[in-house]
Amino acid sequence: DQQVKQNSPSLSVQEGRISILNCDYTNSMFDYFLWYKKYPAEGPTFLISISSIKDKNEDGRFTVFLNKSAKHLSLHIVPSQPGDSAVYFCAAIHNQGGKLIFGQGTELSVKP
């Protein structure tokens, strides 16, 4: 039972353009969401998070949007840079705290 889903395994974007990574969830008890970036053979590094009481959170080039009614969130990277090329995971936390539930990841490739 995949409670957090990233339906696009890969995404290719031109440098300077916008990258949009999508994530859907099924459990209405999730109320905190995070995005992580991961390089091969390394641990994930935290990018940005959003609480369910908000619909947008911005940090520099990264913006996360949350649509609770659709149980959908997205990560926007503007402008995209070649160094952004990595696998991006969205994750969710139950409202009682505890473990992160991850999506399958989306591999972003930003081409010069």
Binding site: Y32, L34, Y36, A41, E42, G43, P44, T45, F46, S49, F89, I93, Q96, G97, G98, K99, L100, I101, F102, G103, Q104, G105
Partner: protein
């Protein structure tokens, strides 16, 4: 401040053997989480320890076990290794169960079963 440290970095074992992986959380963090990332797959939740107690367990067989020590460091033990246990094992730590403090991951242990 030191991050989450995992040891060893790489581990090669023979099928049927036991593997022990170690994790030291960030100072002050009391919760430790273990995840498995098999090749081409996402991060699958294994175990969660908080204040020395096992709080939750993922959908893995009992041969995956662990513990948390009084200094909050943790061990993951995998008994009767199978080829499909080959994966990157990641440890994360957080301050208790308050997600607002964030979760920090280590660099992982690459386990290869031959």
């Amino acid at each position: 401040e030191a991050g989450v440290t995992q040891s060893p970095t790489h581990l090669i074992k023979t099928r049927g053997q036991q593997a022990t992986l170690r994790c030291s959380p960030i100072s002050g963090h009391t919760s430790v989480y273990w995840y498995q990332q098999a090749l081409g797959l996402g991060l699958q939740f294994l175990l969660w320890y908080d204040e020395g107690e096992e709080r939750n367990r993922g959908n893995f067989p009992p041969r995956f076990s662990g513990r948390q020590f009084p200094n909050y460091s943790s061990e993951l033990n995998v008994n009767a290794l199978e080829l499909e246990d080959s994966a990157l094992y990641l440890c994360a730590s957080s301050f208790g169960t308050d997600r607002n403090y964030g979760y920090t991951f280590g660099s992982g242990t690459r386990l290869t079963v031959v």
